[in-house]
């Protein structure tokens, strides 16, 4: 079973993503901000990250940058999820190591399809 880490400071968003992804057959862990995400991701390998941009303590870009820097072996893909869709933000996302950048609110099938795509699975 593939493991996904959902990183978002809003409890309902984590619950929503968890429900969708568990329904699609993945195992899901949660983190409330970038620091907790690092604490988890440096200890347990994840196949995919779903990362919110705006979070306290360490934002999504900060998490990805630091994770990519510390963990050379495990370059698991990441989907950046945000309320913003401005060009500069998107560029920042890719520069920090995001593989995809999607704007909230997210539809369940959209999230699952992108997850499958980045995990290299067929529909």
């Amino acid at each position: 079973m593939k493991h996904i880490l959902v990183i978002d400071d809003a409890a309902t968003v984590r619950l929503y993503h968890r429900g969708i992804l568990e329904n699609a057959g993945y195992s899901v862990d949660e983190a409330i901000n970038g620091i907790e995400a690092l604490e988890k991701a440096l200890v347990k390998p994840y196949d995919l990250f779903i990362v919110d941009v705006n979070m306290p303590k360490l934002d999504g870009y900060g998490f990805l940058k630091e994770f990519r820097r510390q963990d050379d072996a495990l370059q698991s893909p990441a989907i950046m999820v945000t309320t913003e869709a401005s060009g500069s933000d998107k560029q920042l996302g890719y520069m920090s190591g995001a593989n995809l950048y999607i704007t909230k609110p997210i539809k369940p099938n959209e999230l699952v399809n992108y997850a499958r795509l980045l995990l290299g699975e067929t529909l």
Partner: protein
Amino acid sequence: MAFIKKTATPIHCTEHDERHTERDFADLVAELGAENETARRWAVRDLTPLPDASQPLVARLAYEESASVRAAILNALAQIGDHAAIAGLIHCLRSEDAGLRNEAIEVLKAIPQHVEPVIHTLLNDSDSDVRIFAVNILESLRHKDVEKWLIEVIEKDPHINVCATAVDLLSEVGTERALPALKQLKIRFEDDPYICFTTDLALKRIEDGSQ
């Protein structure tokens, strides 16, 4: 044994102390631009109690690249809490820098008494992200009108993500008063699965919570 013990406590450390005593305002402002990060942090600390410190601190924030000096400035502004300091913190909400935006939100959350007079303006800002941040700040605001403001947001705000953020908070602090607005919101965004999910959750939490 190789344990050693200083005979006197506390340990007075004079070596490498970048903090110079007896500096006046102008010296400290100049020191905000020092090359050494520790020196800048001490300049921030020593400026904080002086009158009119907010303006130079806000000015430095725009250029400051060290995360630790930025954190010191933001904490200093929260501590000062005058008009210029709050304006400086609020200005950060519009920054391109996600780190700075989020740090400013955290600091503003910690000083609800200063934020209260401007929260209404922030909740009506033209930028939807600033309105989301304003809702984030409400999370820790100790004010009797928090629920009322959240209800206003979900009744009137046209932006789906602003409403979603407000609903997230209502699922924690909401009471029966929020029920009609939540039901209305679900109708307004009936095509959106996330809004349906989050309003259902809030409705359930409020209705099934202990009476």
